[in-house]
Structures are given as C-alpha cells and as structure tokens.
Subunit: 409 residues, 2 copies
C-alpha cells in the first residue's frame, strides 16, 4: 500500500474547495465510466481466461497495435509487474508511424506464435490502422475467422463492425470511458491477462483505493489537486520524480493523463492546464535537478520511490585504491542507495524552496499498481473539476487530423 505525504502548505485555500471538488466528482460518478471499471472488469478477466483455455492457438508473444491511451497504460503495468511475473509472455508494441520502429518490431516477431491485439477506441486511428494493414500484408494474414487477431474498440465503431464482419474476437471499451482513462477496461485487461499478468490483483487495488477515496479516507488527494490548481499560475509545471527505471512507462502514462486531461479551455474560453514532466531518479539528478534547485520556482515536485525492492543486490564491501571516498555505501544494498538518493534529493529540493510531496510504495505488487492508477485518475479528475473544464475530451487535436487529411487529397 503506497503512502502519501505532502510537504506543501495549502494557503489561501477556500475551505469549501475540497467539498466542492468531492461533490462534483460524486456528481460525475453516474456518467463517467472509469470509476466503476475495477468492479466491471473482474468478469472480463474471467472471460479472457476462459477464451484462453478454449483457444487452440499457441502463442508466446502479444503484439499490441495501438497508440496513446491504447498503449501507454498497458506498457506501464507490463513494465512494473515484469520483474514479479517472470513467466509473462512478451508483449511488443506497434504504436508510432515511424518506419524504423515498425520494421524493427515486425522483424522480431514470429508470426505463427503471435497474437495481435488491435486497439482503438474511436476505431479510426490512422497510425493503428495503417500499421494493422502493414502487418496483414507482411504476414499474409487471412482475416476470415482469424484466431490470431483480437480487436478492442467502442461498441459501435467501424473497427468493431470490421471485426464482426470477419468474425474476429472482440472486446468493448465502455463508451463513457475515455482513452486515457481506459487502462482498467478491456484495453489493459485483455492483453495483460493474455500475457499472464495477475490483473485481478491490479483491479482489487484500484477498487480499494476508490472505495477509500469515496469514503473520504484519502483527503490528501483532494488537497493536492486543490494545491496544484490554486497555484497553477505560480507553479505551471508538475514534476513526477520516480526513483526506479521501472517507473519509466508509468511516468509517461501520468504525463498523458495529466497533460491531455487538464490542458483545456474552460467555460469562459480561457486557456488552463498544468504541464507534467516525468523524471527518473537517480539518473535525472544528473540532468534536470540543477534546474529544479536553482532555476525559476515554477515547479512542484512529487518524489516517488519503492521501499522494498525485489532485488536485494548489494554493493560489495570492496575498497579500491584511490576510490575510497565512495566506500561510504559499501555493504549497503543498491535499494538502500537509491532510496537514500531519493530522500537526500528531496531534502535538497525542499531546502531550495520548492513545493514537494512524496509517494512511497511499500513494494511493487499488483495491488499497489492498481491503487496508484486509481490515485492518478482521481487526482486528475479532481483537478479537472476545480479547473472547471471537461477533463475527458481532447478537442484541440482535431484540427491537426483535418489538416493531415488535406495533405493527401
């Protein structure tokens, strides 16, 4: 169970702000679908497992064809749980319309042993469909009744109609669940269960956190959202500084969630939003930290670390001539070192006057992953209601799509 600690002071905060945010979220609860996914998706887990048992096709690789909300969450969970799920099947990702990546990834898969999971909420994503066509042509896939293709999309989308036309196995993303909030829907559940991850554990963690939040036992979340929104002009940048490489994809998922949900015009047409940045410690202590400490005070920083690592790798008690100055960590574990680096950096950032909070994962397990997913989704929704925007749409990206189509006419 992760623990949360805020070092920032909530000043000048209207005492009714938290109440207002909570009530607005409760009001949303009927229409916004992601809140209920932890419960809804447990049946789905069982369904996918059943279809797996009944399947006649053996595969050892899952190729996810999807981009944005249709890949980031899957990658985040895949990466976080890989170390504790050694027998999970390999998941490869076809996301970008980058020819170098597509050529590279498609050369690495063995077609006969690969299950393709094609994911697009709208069903019309140009990258996803173009890559899908490329894979069909490259591997000469016979679409009719193909047991190697699974489709995940909105119930009524053209991609779902396509799947039904060829009698492909398909799963539905509830229409009231937005792409970047969809990781606990079929989008994440289907490929991750197929790969052998314990997705029920993730759903349980998310469910627990949600229940505690609705029971007003996670008020720090509302406080943090209120702090970020109240200080949006002063601190327009929110940094997530995570101390483990395994948070790399989780950080990217948070960036999409926070950036795309909150960067909006509000009801008065004003531009609002908060700029997320994901960093990895200790690596980015050697890259970005100087700017945080001595640069403009325009950032908040969330430090995230893992108390107990799965790998108790030790720094040997080895004293090398001329290098004795580094002996102070001899005989310690790398986990102790990286956590001490997180603490030391946090202290130095605090002393430089930056608003900081801290999230400590006891360990990385399914339940914690689920809790942190629900935490960030609820945090985003809370910030959204306080910014008085529609957290769940993305009207700004439409113009580019129209211009793109014009280029090919």
């Amino acid at each position: 169970m992760p623990s949360f600690k805020g070092y920032f002071e909530i000043k000048n905060l209207d005492p009714f702000t938290l109440e207002k945010a909570y009530e607005a979220l409760k009001y949303e609860h009927g229409t916004i679908g992601y809140y209920d996914l932890p419960s809804l998706s447990s049946t789905l887990c069982a369904d996918v497992k059943m279809s797996l048992l009944n399947s006649t096709v053996f595969f050892d690789t899952i190729a996810v064809v999807g981009i944005g909300g249709s890949s980031l969450g899957i990658k985040a969970i895949d990466r976080l749980l890989q170390a504790s799920t050694p027998h999970a099947k390999k998941i490869v990702y076809f996301e970008n319309s980058d020819p170098i990546s597509i050529a590279h990834e498609s050369s690495r898969i063995e077609f006969a042993k690969t299950l393709f999971v094609v994911i697009s909420k709208s069903g019309g994503t140009v990258e996803t469909l173009s890559i899908f066509k490329y894979l069909i042509a490259k591997f000469e896939i016979d679409l009719q009744d193909s047991k190697q293709i699974v489709v995940i999309s909105d119930e009524e989308s053209v991609l779902s109609q396509f799947a039904d036309h060829y009698r492909l196995k398909r799963f539905v993303i509830p229409s009231n669940v937005g792409g970047r909030f969809s990781v606990l829907s079929a989008v994440g559940v289907v490929p991750l269960v197929l790969a052998g991850f314990n997705v029920e554990g993730v759903l349980d963690g998310a469910k627990n956190f949600g229940e505690k939040f609705w029971a007003r036992k996670e008020e720090h979340l509302l406080q943090k959202a209120a702090f970020c929104v109240a200080n949006a002009s002063k601190f327009p940048v929110n940094v997530l500084f995570s101390y483990s490489d395994t948070f790399e994809e989780f950080g990217k998922w948070v960036v999409q969630l926070w950036g795309e949900s909150l960067g909006k015009r509000n009801a008065r047409g004003e531009r609002v939003g908060l700029t997320p940045i994901s960093l990895i410690g200790s690596v980015d202590q050697h890259s970005f930290l100087q700017l945080i400490i001595e640069g403009p005070l325009n950032k908040t920083v969330t430090f995230m670390n893992i108390e107990h690592s799965r790998d108790e790798l030790m720094i040997p008690s080895l004293s090398l001539p001329f290098l004795e100055k580094s002996d102070f960590v001899n005989g310690e574990s790398f986990n102790t070192l990286i956590n001490a680096q997180c603490q030391a950096t946090m202290q130095s950032v605090l002393q430089s006057g930056v608003s900081v909070d801290e999230i400590t994962w006891a360990c990385i397990d399914e339940s914690s992953v689920g809790e942190m997913i629900m935490y960030y989704e609820l945090l985003t929704s809370a910030a959204g209601v306080l910014l008085e925007i529609n957290t769940y749409d993305q009207p700004g990206v439409e113009l580019g799509k129209q211009i793109l189509q014009g280029y090919f006419k």
Copy 2:
C-alpha cells in the same frame, strides 16, 4: 545537412543582442573546451582504432558504466546511427543505481566477450563506482593489467589514478570540457569507435557546423537563443517535438544540456532558466499535444523531422470493409505519413498561437548527427551568455550529495 526555419517573431529585441552573444561566445572560445573537440578528437579516433587493432581480446559487447553526461550523449548517437550501422557491436548501459536494472543488464552480458568502459569526469560518481564494484565482484575481475577495462576521466581524478595503479587503458576528458558538453571528447569517441561507429563522420559534421557558426553563417541560432531568453518569463517551457522514435535518447541529451546548463542563479542571485521537454511524434500527439494547443501559452515548440528515412516501408493499398476512412494514406510510405503528421501538427500548433520553429534533417547520417550536436551545444552556450550565467557548472546538485553522505555516517 539539417535545415532550420523559425516561425516566431523576434520582437523588442535589442539590435545589439546578437552581437553581444556572438562576442561573448568568441571570448569564451579560449577557455571553454568543447568548441575544439571536433578537431582535437580526430587523433583520438585514430588512437582508439590502433589500440583496437593491437588488442588480443575479442569482444562483441561494450558495457558503458556511466551516468548523466557520461552516458546520455553516447546513447543518443548509438540510437541515431544504429539503423545505418548494422554491424556495430552492442552497447549496454549501466547508469542508474536501480537494482532491478543492474541485475537485468548484468545478466544479459557474457563476461568473456565484454569490454567495460567506466566513465566519470570527476571520478567520484557514486552510482558509477558502486556499479563498477558490483561488476568486479560479480565477474571476479582481476584488475591487474586487465584488458577488459577502459577508464575515461579527468587527467588528475582519483579514477585516473586508480586506472594507472592497475595499468588499465585510460583516456582523458579535457578539464575545460563539462560533462554534458563532453560527447565529442573521449567520453563519446572511445566507446562509439570501439563499437564500430563512424565517429569521424560525426566529428566532421560538428566541425562544419562550428565553422559556419563562427563565420556568421548560422545567425538563426543566435536569433533563437535570443528569442528563448527574451521570452523566458512568457514562455518558460521549451518543447522539442521530434518525429521519429530514434530521437528518444537525443531528446534526453538535449534536456540535460538545456536544463542543467541554463537553470542557474545569475550574477544578481536571481533564479533563471528554461524548462526543456522532449516529445516524440506522432506518439505524443496522443498525449501532450492537447495541452500545447489549448493549455496556457507558456511554451515554445521546435518540430524536428527526417525528410528521407532509411526504411521505405509502405502502407499497403488495402481497403478493409468499414475502415475505408483510413484509406487516404494507402500506397504512401510510413515516412510520408509521419512527415505529414509533423507538418499538420505544426500547422495546428501555429494556428493556436504558439511560437514554433522547425528543424528538418535531410536524412540521419553521421554528418547530420555531428551538426545537430554542435547546434544544440552552441545554442545552449548562446542562451547562457544572454542569461548572464555560468553555463558550465552545476552548483545546485552538491547539497543533495552532502545530505546523501550524511545518511551513511
């Protein structure tokens, strides 16, 4: 040869600003070492090749042990040139004090065929030395005269003294070259030549760009630096939006260079700096673009793309039932699609009122890589003189290191 295009207007710019920046950089030229690396390092290339010819040890993997300025630049070039250097040896990186990564990477290397390149400018980096000790213990390395270890450090550092003690092969980082500006010194040259990359080509590109800059033939660089600095309060965030996955590590290198160099207290003790963000297109169109277009106008965006890709991968002329709407790209190459996406997104960002510039690489080759490295280094130096800071130090990160040591006493 990359081409540069600025869509921003330089308003209210003191006409002497560019002159001032140029003169300040010229003045620095005598003391700041990175300017001369393209020339200085060509001899080094020859030396490394010679020592390779004389080596009795066969290796197929290079393990770089280094962090920050001792790894980011190597990774950037390695990734960019991989596709055009198919016979390059594999480089693995030991950077972070993350036990999961260290365990994973060290399990993947075959000791007998691995050359370890240990890089630390100061010679005292705690991550690097701790990992080095771990590798010594794990592989039971006999340090005396070891042919499997190469050390790169400052001439007088403790790491250099350690290397001499055991008669290890070592190379020197010139003392007037800072870590994040060191990629064209031994730091990048040695491992990349050892891996089989055409580093001379990179150096030539960097040299060419430098010469043109000093001859006042790349004035756009000074203009861009002046624009970023003049608008630092209005646009505190500078986004680099690169359209190819192969720019991922290059983007991280730029983030370190820009963030750590410019985030400083100036002579009057004021906090200055610009916050860099690296994005990858088209992926981040589905993540961050909404915030750029509708969120606060606090960002500049540089779009970067590759005109001609090495992979002429085609989108098949395949019309699938119900999915005909995506047929508008049928028969086009993925390279055409991703470049059109870059252009369309740039147009939509411009229309939303954001200051934009554009860097187009004709193709990814050694010369372009060198030019772009020198471009970003000079751009950073130019912004630094205009911010009236010391671009080359990083005093802000020292406190954290002291606090860290205190934890282990």
